[in-house]
Symmetry: C2
């Protein structure tokens, strides 16, 4: 039941130390759920209720949720509850019937993008959105080669898993996939953009040499699974230019960075001053209702649309669209992008202060409410996954939920709901400082 | 904006004949939605409300819905509205936290299956469920070859589209995919099972000869896109035995036939007295909330689970599970499987009477509330797609919604919500008889 190694995954090693009711739930999972399921934390968390920035277990313990980005508006936001209840009571059908609501929402969603990105196709998950985007890109370019970063994650369909190296060695990359480094200014210094330009040129050459040609560069705009890398912001424009010059397209995966998360506008690519050819959206789009999308330039979709039909029964159906509409409204009405910027800045300052006190904390980096704190070994400057996990686990024992990320699993990943307030941020910083005192060498 | 040909697809040919508000909606779709979207009917239907077995347009016209199987409990069933509202107000998170509700539902879902099928993995769509099932099957068998029926449809991910021949010639089958005939007793006579046994043996030989080996036989248990073929019921057992003898597995796609649709139990494969190795579920599972699943024998998933993790953010999350739980309860509480059997029998008798009056209606066939009426040409016995479309369109003009299916698009597909009552069935039969009078040569 342990399965493949995962950052912050429950390994079963401490199964016997779990309380009786937790052991029972774990045992039931093993006997009911299919292959590949994993739990978070050395001591898994049982949850039974959520509200705002908090999760509660069935004993009534309150957890500060500084991790879950699906519930971007906070757990159980009434605007989404109301919109979904109303829609479920009115109509749930699909896009093969004409409906004004779908089109009204599409107009409002597309208005958050640069004008070139003028069409949207709905799916249910980010995986499906990336899967479709690649089918479209292949039809448009006539090529198959894909370039991603070294520890990228883009989803779980067979197609998308083949270009998601973070799934690990047992989930092989496709023969048509090449990886380049993610940016890492702390290690790469000022030459990040030059280094990656050289790498993408080499990847392009190699794809051509093998006859695949260049179909798409696929990049998570915040490099989440690569360890959260918000800088440098001139990078994506340079990489996009290289891939376009080679006949490929640039797909911005905004499943992690999108919907105001970075505090610098609606979309993570905006920080890089570049306009992608395709953009994929997911997780926070419906605040807990499955809904995702592929946004694209109409000319990119032309070849696919001429020949292939695409019907996703639930994609663009009424309830997901009602939820997404409520999310879009609420982000605007509650000023959540500004909030992400302000609270993100508060967290960045606070973490910088904590980081400065420990040799083992190499740096904090972030954009809006997406931050990474890098943990290194006491004796050298290499990544320290074990120490990072100890911090994550210590915080969990003190009722604060974060996780870890990066190719070495040594970057604490902090990604609270966008409604995180200044007092929530202060509490998170306090608890983190306390955890550091307990866990890290002075 | 016309795109590839689809059975009962709006072609744009009659665009100028549409009312102003319909033309506007169609125009907005063309300028907002991505590639591949299609509408139903020669004159598309605009919908704004649903209730029970009815859909309503914004002018207040009432349509008898004899087609939509997602809303299997009827449009806007209060049990689903209540369950989803309650869950959305309580908790929406994912399977990396322990939650009893997920396990309680899994137990109840698995109890509807033969004992061998003892594990479930949740996804959001039938496409994702089939995509995952194939990844699991490949890991288990070590082979890649897939066998499907000649006009099969299993979904829209890149992986699954490659074994969905009904998507048409512009969506090519994978090199590892072979097709066999669907059953068609009217044309094939008594030798159906022998014929298909010979075909699957040839397909197996050919897959081996090309080095793919045999991974999976994937079959929709009611052969929906092959034109609705409920007979003969000894067939799937024979095909499963052949594929297993060759080292492959049998995946029953129950996205169409499942959840009581056939009136003969929960699952369509049950009519064939065979136990699959994997089963995929979808459409009606959440009555409008996106939820789907792969059910499997635990030993089939072992190899995949040992090496690969699978996390679907929304798959198995709280709201989809709450919806699915309400659906499962309601099917039992309202006796909808028995209703599907009884009303299905009423429809079968009624259509048989209508069919007997027209040379152009070759036969009606069905199981429970899934029926097909085959339309043939007046002059010969070949399929008549145009006449079938005329019937579908005439019914639509008289406020009855059905569609068409089959490789030749000549089978009227009748698939109402499971709550269809005896008076709804009588009305459908009346309207169909009237349409036949208007459309078919006497």
């Amino acid at each position: 039941m342990t399965g493949p190694e995962m950052v912050n995954g429950f390994t079963g090693e401490h199964l016997s130390a779990q309380p009786q009711h937790i052991r029972e739930l774990i045992d039931r999972r093993a006997h009911l759920l299919g292959p590949g399921y994993q739990l978070f934390y050395t001591n898994p968390v049982e949850v039974s209720r959520g509200s705002g920035v908090h999760l509660y277990d069935s004993a009534g313990n309150e957890y500060l949720d500084a991790y879950n980005n699906v519930v971007s508006l906070g757990h159980c936001h009434p605007a989404v509850v109301d919109a979904v209840t109303r829609q479920l009571s009115t109509l749930t059908t699909n896009t093969r019937y004409l409906q004004a609501d779908l089109l009204d929402f599409s107009e409002r969603l597309l208005a958050t993008f640069p004008a070139e990105l003028d069409r949207v196709t709905y799916t249910c998950t980010g995986s499906e959105a990336n899967d479709l985007a690649l089918r479209v890109a292949r039809a448009h370019t006539g090529n198959t080669g894909i370039i991603v970063t070294r520890n990228a994650y883009h989803g779980v369909t067979a197609e998308v898993a083949a270009f998601s190296p973070s799934l690990g060695p047992a989930s092989p990359l496709g023969p048509h996939v090449r990886t380049i480094s993610a940016p890492d200014p702390r290690r790469q210094g000022d030459a990040v953009t030059d280094l990656l330009r050289a790498e993408i040129r080499a990847a392009i050459d190699d794809l051509r040499r093998h006859g695949f040609g260049v179909c798409a560069l696929v990049v998570d705009s915040i490099f989440s699974s690569d360890g959260v890398q918000p800088f440098p912001t001139d990078l994506l424009g340079v990489l996009a230019a290289e891939v376009r010059a080679a006949g490929g397209v640039y797909l911005a995966d905004e499943v992690q960075a999108g919907f105001g998360r970075t505090g610098a506008g609606w979309w993570g690519f905006g920080r890089h001053a570049v306009v992608p050819d395709l953009v994929t959206l997911g997780k926070p789009m419906g605040n807990g209702i499955p809904v995702a999308a592929t946004v694209l330039r109409h000319e990119i979709g032309r070849e696919f649309g001429r020949n292939v039909r695409y019907f996703n029964t639930f994609g663009g159906s009424n309830v997901p669209i009602a939820a997404a509409s409520a999310v879009l409204d609420t982000i605007t009405r509650e000023g959540l992008i500004e909030n992400a910027r302000e609270i993100g800045a508060q967290l960045l300052r606070g973490f910088a202060e904590i980081v400065s006190g420990y040799q083992c904390l190499a740096e904090v980096r972030g954009a809006g409410l997406f931050l990474g704190v890098e943990v290194i070994a006491p004796e050298d400057t290499g990544p320290d996954r074990v120490l990072a996990q100890s911090l994550v686990d210590d915080l969990r024992e003190h009722f604060v939920l974060v996780s870890a990320s990066g190719p070495d699993g040594n970057v604490i990943k902090i990604r609270p709901p966008l409604v995180f307030g200044t007092e929530d941020a202060a509490l998170l910083l306090d608890r983190f400082a306390d955890a550091a005192t307990r866990v890290l060498p002075a």
